[in-house]
């Protein structure tokens, strides 16, 4: 197992380099000059040229890329053109927000999708199955930014039940412990802060989870239906085992392998797919940071964030494979 993990981690390196090269070339090919965009409207040509020199943009492209890669291997993504802060520091500040949102969306998604999928599989072609399938399709098809705006209008604008944006009321801002505001508040025993943090994350996590609910529900249903046809299920029922145990201990456990894979991939998608929602909800994650970077042509910031997304995605995939092996003893992660 450790050998397998080591090989997979080493395999990340050429992938990251290729991604870095691709992103670097793509953003430099995009029209727009960061110096012209970021320096003040009142700046002169000389000021703009001075900024370009300061940021190394007057260097040949391959020199810029070389400089970037040499720094990146030392985990130094350079300094943001727009914010003047190390990119690594900016990402570190904003990452917990994105991770917290993705985690709660995954939690919500799986808590809804898994029972729904099992339930639908246990009663195929019934009204429950139809309802669950419809809910799944709606979750996959619904434009999330539209739903987000509608929910904000209803729950914040009209009924004043939930906050419309942000991550927490500022009066609860304390030094982070884990960086997850909900967990930090619970650790501190500050119930008002915990309630506030949960209230802020509820709508964005719900909207973000919808796509996952649809996909995971469908996969769970089909996986369960396949497993429920197996002989050992018939044997268990014949022995008089309670139906809930048949479904969950015998059926679901064996269907879990496929589900884990999908949930893992979906988690990676949630991380990168939250960019628009972070803007709608003014959620201070790395998605909205990336959007700001793209608008400003902040090359170090864009490249740094994309590299982080790529790394996370690769690590999540690795974790999924390890869990895969842990769940199914028949699977060996061999040389």
């Amino acid at each position: 197992m450790s050998g397998y993990i080591t090989r997979r981690l080493l395999g990340m390196i050429p992938v990251l380099m290729l991604i870095a090269l691709f992103v670097f070339l793509l953003i430099h090919a995009a029209p727009g000059d960061p110096a012209a965009i970021l320096i003040s409207d009142e700046a002169s040509k000389a000021d703009i040229e001075a900024a370009r020199q300061r940021w190394g943009l007057d260097q040949p492209l391959f020199m810029q890329f070389l400089h970037f890669m040499v720094s990146a291997v030392q985990l130094d993504f350079g300094e943001s053109f727009k914010y003047g802060e190390p990119v690594a520091s900016l990402i570190a500040q904003r990452m917990p927000a994105s991770l917290e949102l993705a985690l709660y969306a995954t939690l919500f998604g799986t808590c809804v999708a898994l029972p729904l999928g099992v339930w639908a599989a246990s009663r195929p072609n019934s009204w429950i199955d139809t309802l669950a399938s419809t809910a799944g399709f709606v979750g996959i098809s619904m434009p999330h930014f539209w739903l987000a705006i509608v929910l904000i209008l209803i729950f914040s604008g009209y009924f004043h039940l939930l906050p419309s944006s942000g991550r927490a009321a500022l009066r609860f801002s304390d030094e982070p412990i884990t960086g997850f505001l909900t967990i930090d508040a619970l650790i501190r025993g500050n119930w008002a802060a915990a309630k506030d943090a949960f209230a802020h994350i509820l709508m964005p996590a719900f909207v973000l989870s919808l796509n996952m609910v649809g996909i995971v529900m469908r996969v769970t249903r089909s996986s369960m239906m396949e497993v429920l046809q197996e002989d050992y299920i018939m044997t268990a029922r014949a022995k008089g085992v309670a139906e809930s145990i048949v479904l969950w201990r015998h059926g679901f456990r064996n269907a879990l392998v496929t589900v884990i894979t999908v949930v893992g991939l979906e988690f990676g998608t949630l991380l990168s797919g939250s960019i628009i929602l972070e803007t709608v909800f003014a959620w201070p994650g790395i998605g909205s940071l990336l959007l700001q970077g793209i608008g400003a042509r902040d090359y170090p910031l864009i490249t740094g964030v994309v590299m982080v997304y790529t790394t996370l995605f690769i690590l999540v995939n690795l974790l999924v494979d390890v869990l895969y092996a842990a769940t199914d003893p028949r699977i060996r992660l061999s040389a």
Partner: protein
């Protein structure tokens, strides 16, 4: 037959648990005793370095923390200063500033002339500084005595204060002791508020300096500026009580704010000049008649009435009422006259019309896309064959800065004194944004910058503006009326420059 799984009990329990959790989450909070006003803003917050931002909102935030060299004191654009008791022009290249006696920062440290030297040098040399251009005319800063600072300019410049109004004065001693950390942890100034907390591109929070002479008990103890770029977001947060001031309510949301029980509107005329730029370097705009035809073809009043719902005032020249050098007698004016536009096109050698690429901004200014679509339609009716292009802002602005855009819609903000704007866009070789060159205009603009007699300077400016308007490398359209959404529990009159000064926010009695 598949055995039944009775899940209705589990389902009921699950639904009950979710409903309970939702009810607990939605229970209202008790209000806190300290008064806090939250302002929903659209600008960026770059970081704790006061010289790294170039937007007027953040400049105002740093100004009320550290103090500015000068700022406007009222609607009549009279200057005041947080640091200087007086200033004078000793000779055309020398300005002398006297520091207020006994002036101290919030930590008790005295303000000294070295702070001014340090701050101006930092604006020029700090790698993160986006404000170097504001002190580009300052050749040298000298300390004459413990209370006097002397600025030497590169050329006679009557408008120096217009540049200096954004200059933040930070402490040299704190910088020498702590370096970059001084901005975050030792941000001591002479302003009525001090920095409490800042999250890059998220919010900045400032809190009262007790006993500051500018403040009264009905000013908020804390002001939080939160970035909310989407207008719906700002309005919803206002209705929800999350913010008490929401900047820049677009025309289509004004009536919602007005009709909402707990909110009201505050209005101000913007000092952002909206105009069409036409480069004389690019045909067909190399012909004055074509540029003037554009001006006559656009019915600005109809656009203001219909698309902007009356929330703008037409410009007949580069400036409007309240801006320096405005005169209602400026000529020529360009009343809407489609036939005249056609005649001018014919005169220019385009009897069958002419094709033009028109670059519109999208999402940058109020209703910009709709406005540009209306402008394009009007131009079409006057004989132009308009190819409307809507590039993303970063792309458009980069190309404008390089001089590659022949015809575009643009706004130039913070125009109280038009001197800087006119030089930027219409003086030869200042910037390539328009590519206009006229020796007469160049001479007038240079002369007005160097004329210290205010009345004489106004006349020269008006002459320059008249010439520019007549030649029409820019057709001046309107200034928006900016609507702010306000909670009824506060009084605040929005300012044309979009600054939010803490001492101008008054909390009504009984609000906690």
């Amino acid at each position: 037959m598949m055995p039944e799984w009775n899940s209705s009990k589990s389902l009921k329990r699950l639904v009950a648990a979710c409903a309970t959790a939702l009810m607990l989450l939605c229970a209202p909070e008790r209000a806190v005793a300290k008064t806090t006003v939250t302002v929903a803003v659209t600008e960026t917050i770059v970081g704790v370095n006061p010289y790294a931002d170039s937007v007027s909102l953040m400049n105002a935030v740093w100004c009320q923390i550290y103090g500015c060299m000068v700022r406007y004191v009222d609607e009549n654009q009279n200057y005041t200063s947080d640091l200087f008791e007086s200033w004078k022009v000793e000779d055309p290249l020398t300005w002398v500033f006297k520091i207020k006696p006994g002036l101290k920062r919030s930590n008790g440290e005295s303000v000294v002339p070295d702070d001014v030297v340090h701050s101006i040098n930092r604006m020029k040399t700090d790698p993160q500084s986006k404000q170097a251009h504001r002190v580009s005319y300052v050749a040298e800063v000298q300390v004459r005595d413990p209370h006097t600072v002397v600025l030497k300019t590169t050329e006679p410049l009557a408008t120096l204060l217009e540049y200096l109004k954004s200059v933040i004065i930070t402490s040299k001693a704190q910088w020498d002791a702590h370096g970059k950390d001084a901005d975050r942890d030792f941000a001591y100034g002479v302003g009525p508020y001090k920095l409490k907390r800042l999250a890059i591109d998220n919010y900045v929070s400032i809190e009262k300096v007790p006993g500051h002479p500018l403040l009264s008990p009905d000013n908020p103890d804390e002001i939080v500026f939160r970035i909310m770029k989407e207008p719906e977001q700002r309005v919803t947060a206002l209705f929800n009580g999350e913010v008490q001031i929401a900047q820049f309510i677009p025309p289509q949301l004004v009536s919602r704010v007005e009709q909402n029980a707990g909110t009201k509107l505050g209005w101000t005329d913007s000092i952002e000049v909206m105009f069409l730029a036409m480069s004389p370097l690019a045909p067909p705009f190399d012909k004055k008649e074509v540029r003037q035809a554009v001006a006559y073809a656009i019915d600005r009043d109809a656009i203001i009435k219909s698309i902007l719902q009356g929330q703008a005032s037409r410009l007949d020249g580069p400036v409007g009422p309240g801006q320096i050098a405005y005169t209602p007698d400026l000529e020529p004016k360009y009343p809407y006259d489609r036939e005249r536009a056609r005649a001018l096109l014919k005169q220019a050698g385009y009897p069958d019309g002419v094709a033009v690429d028109f670059y519109a901004t999208v999402g940058r200014y109020t209703s910009d896309k709709q406005l540009c679509e209306a402008i394009a339609a009007m131009l079409q009716k006057a004989g132009f064959k308009v190819n409307l292009k809507t590039p993303e802002w970063g792309t458009l602005w980069s190309n404008v800065q390089k001089g590659g855009v022949p015809f575009y819609y643009m706004g130039r903000g913070t125009v109280v004194d038009p001197s800087v704007m006119l030089a930027q866009y219409f003086e030869t070789n200042n910037t390539p944004r328009v590519g206009y060159s006229n020796p007469e205009v160049d001479a007038l603009l240079k002369q007005e910058r160097q004329t210290f007699d205010f009345s004489a300077r106004l006349k020269i400016l008006q002459k320059a503006m008249s010439k520019i308007t007549e030649e029409a490398p820019g057709h001046f359209l309107w200034r928006h009326k900016m609507a702010y959404g306000l909670a009824k529990s506060i009084d605040f009159q929005p300012l044309p420059g979009s600054e939010v000064w803490g001492w101008k926010i008054k909390l009504k009695p009984g609000r906690s």
